[in-house]
């Protein structure tokens, strides 16, 4: 079970028979936010300035973003590669101001996003900022009044689904604070693994793989069940865009995000937001 890395490449040309991916990959994150941007009229003919983390995940995200922009009429007027140890973004912010984009877009990862978001608020640039990757803990760390825009997530603790609510309540009882996205990923991964072992009455690797590859449905504490796609081992599941609640609207410091409705739409197949077989070079 691969519970953290999000690059398309791991499910694509580097895919592996023995790896199953629980978190959503780059393309799904781009689609989750991209669809929200299209809906909000922030895509067609808009000028985007992107900041991209300079390693495979960032490059992957940028590639997915570019194909979304190309397909939906967005224009990239600047893309900066950011070394992974950058903590000060001021020179990049000056370049953004000079370029005057319509939307600033983050393809960064980990706590670099928090640094960017904090410094973006510090400089107070007028262009809206969005991003294709942001962990819940890094969003919380931005602090009130710093984060804005639309971002993607695999899960958030305010999700209105009974199974999810029970998990959140139990987690809070034990840890005194709500779970963030990684807690959810780890929990459902373990649950799926346990279900596989129970059903197959085995811990044999090949039997477990066969069980997952049957595209068995799993309750992943979301509105719809999920399943591992047989040919690239990616968990097909709903994803969500989120925005930031207006000042004073959050019940506590963990309630600062406003979860958007799930994508894909209920009547659509879960696979419409994932890479298609033509786009994904995975062969096991």
């Amino acid at each position: 079970m691969q519970i953290g890395a999000r690059s398309d490449a791991l499910r694509g040309k580097n895919c592996n028979k023995y790896t199953f991916h629980v978190d959503i990959p780059s393309t799904v994150m781009v689609n989750a936010v991209g669809k929200a941007l299209v809906r909000d009229n922030m895509m067609k003919d808009k000028k985007f300035y992107t900041l991209t983390a300079d390693y495979i995940f960032g490059h992957d995200l940028a590639r997915a973003a570019k194909s979304f922009f190309d397909a939906n009429g967005g224009k990239i007027i600047g893309d900066e590669l950011i070394a992974t140890d950058v903590t000060d973004f001021s020179p990049y912010l000056l370049k953004i101001r000079q370029a005057k984009p319509d939307v600033v877009c983050s393809n960064l990862a980990g706590n670099q996003v928090t640094n960017l978001v904090k410094q973006y608020a510090e400089f107070g640039l007028p262009f809206p900022i969005v991003g294709f990757n942001l962990n819940t803990a890094d969003a919380w760390a931005a602090g009130e009044g710093n984060l804005s825009g639309t971002w993607p997530t695999v899960w958030y603790h305010t999700l209105d689904v009974p199974g999810s609510k029970t998990f959140v309540a139990d987690f809070i009882k034990k840890n005194g604070k709500p779970p963030e996205n990684h807690a959810w990923i780890e929990y459902v991964s373990l649950k799926m693994m346990a279900q596989a072992m129970n059903e197959t009455k085995s811990t044999d690797t090949d039997k477990l793989i066969a069980y997952f590859e049957k595209e068995t449905q799993f309750d992943v504490l979301k509105g719809r069940k999920g399943y591992f796609r047989s040919w690239d081992h990616q968990l097909m599941q709903e994803a969500y865009p989120f925005t930031v609640k207006a000042k004073g609207k959050a019940k506590d410091k963990w309630d600062m995000l406003e979860l958007g409705s799930a994508i894909p739409e209920p009547q659509e197949s879960l696979e419409v937001i994932a890479l298609t077989k033509e786009q994904n070079p995975c062969s096991m």
Binding site: D54, E80, D88, N111, E122, A137, D138
Partner: protein, 291 residues
């Protein structure tokens, strides 16, 4: 227009350099006087940030910026008294190891006390946003920070060059044996220098907390740049560190203007070039005890 953009990067680099200075100056002082490379310097920077957040929760932003460096400087006394002091005359590898170990202990301690997840902190609303000077854009917060750094710099310079305390410290850098022969014990001075250096690092952490992510490993992130500044500036030189810090900020800004992906690499290239032509750093003095 292109030239103006470049100039804006230069000025922004100078502001950033001022911030590096807070961390690097203390590192340089401790090294120059005690001969100890304090690899735990970043840990004090991180502690400064965490303590300032705690104090902000109770007393607000202003008091936190003053009290956090003072509190961490007090820790610096213990650090000097019980650890550093044993290593002034020892093999340098020992002090490297002990301060490196301490940096790791401090990081884990922060993890235990405040948790591994990053902590959120915001600056006062009034300091947010930018100001324009002509066509130049500045972050209001960083301008305030620059003023603080300038004030600290003046105070440290006065302390080192216009007081009897500073005379002893400067003499101690060059000829500790002669200072001893004159009947002056260097140890209390060393304690004060460590306090000062560690306090400045904590001040850097406190002031940078609102614009950077506060997490347990933040000390390790800053220490490398601080070292680069000290090495470029040269040991024993106040102005060397000042010039190096500003230079590092400016070179980074200009590089990002032209080749964004090489921004972080540029400061190491700068260090390489400086060392190639001036192995002692820009204004480094010849210090006999290190030769």
């Amino acid at each position: 227009m292109q030239f103006e953009f470049l100039l804006e990067q230069v000025v922004n680099g100078l502001v950033l350099g001022g911030y590096y200075l807070l961390i690097a100056l203390g590192l340089s002082l401790i090294f120059s006087v005690g001969g100890v490379v304090n690899l735990a310097h970043g840990a004090f920077y991180a502690l400064g940030a965490y303590v300032s957040i705690e104090i902000t929760n109770y007393l607000g932003f202003g008091p936190a910026m003053v009290l956090s460096p003072i509190a961490v400087a007090m820790l610096g006394i213990l650090f000097e008294r019980f650890i550093l002091r044993r290593f002034y005359t020892a093999d340098p590898i020992l002090s490297l190891l002990v301060t490196f170990g301490l940096a790791m202990v401090a990081e884990q301690l922060i993890r235990i006390l405040w948790g591994a997840a990053p902590i959120s902190v915001s600056m006062p609303q009034g300091l947010k946003g930018s100001v324009f000077f002509g066509d130049f854009l500045f972050s209001r917060y960083r301008l305030m920070l620059l003023a603080v750094v300038a004030a600290v710099l003046v105070c440290v310079w006065l302390l080192l060059h216009k007081t009897s305390f500073g005379r002893v410290v400067r003499a101690g850098i060059q000829r500790p044996d002669m200072v001893a022969a004159l009947g002056i014990r260097l140890q209390p001075y060393m304690t004060a220098i460590v306090m000062l250096g560690v306090g400045m690092a904590a001040m850097g952490g406190a002031f940078f907390a609102p614009i950077t992510i506060v997490h347990p490993a933040m000390g390790a992130e800053i220490i490398t740049v601080a070292f680069v500044v000290v090495v470029i500036g040269g040991l024993g030189s106040f102005w060397g560190v000042v010039i190096a810090a500003l230079l590092v900020g400016v070179v980074r800004g200009i590089t990002i203007h032209f080749i964004p992906a090489a921004g972080e690499a540029s400061i190491y290239v700068l260090m390489f070039l400086v060392l190639l032509f001036r192995p002692r750093g820009l204004l480094g003095e010849r210090i006999e005890k290190f030769e």
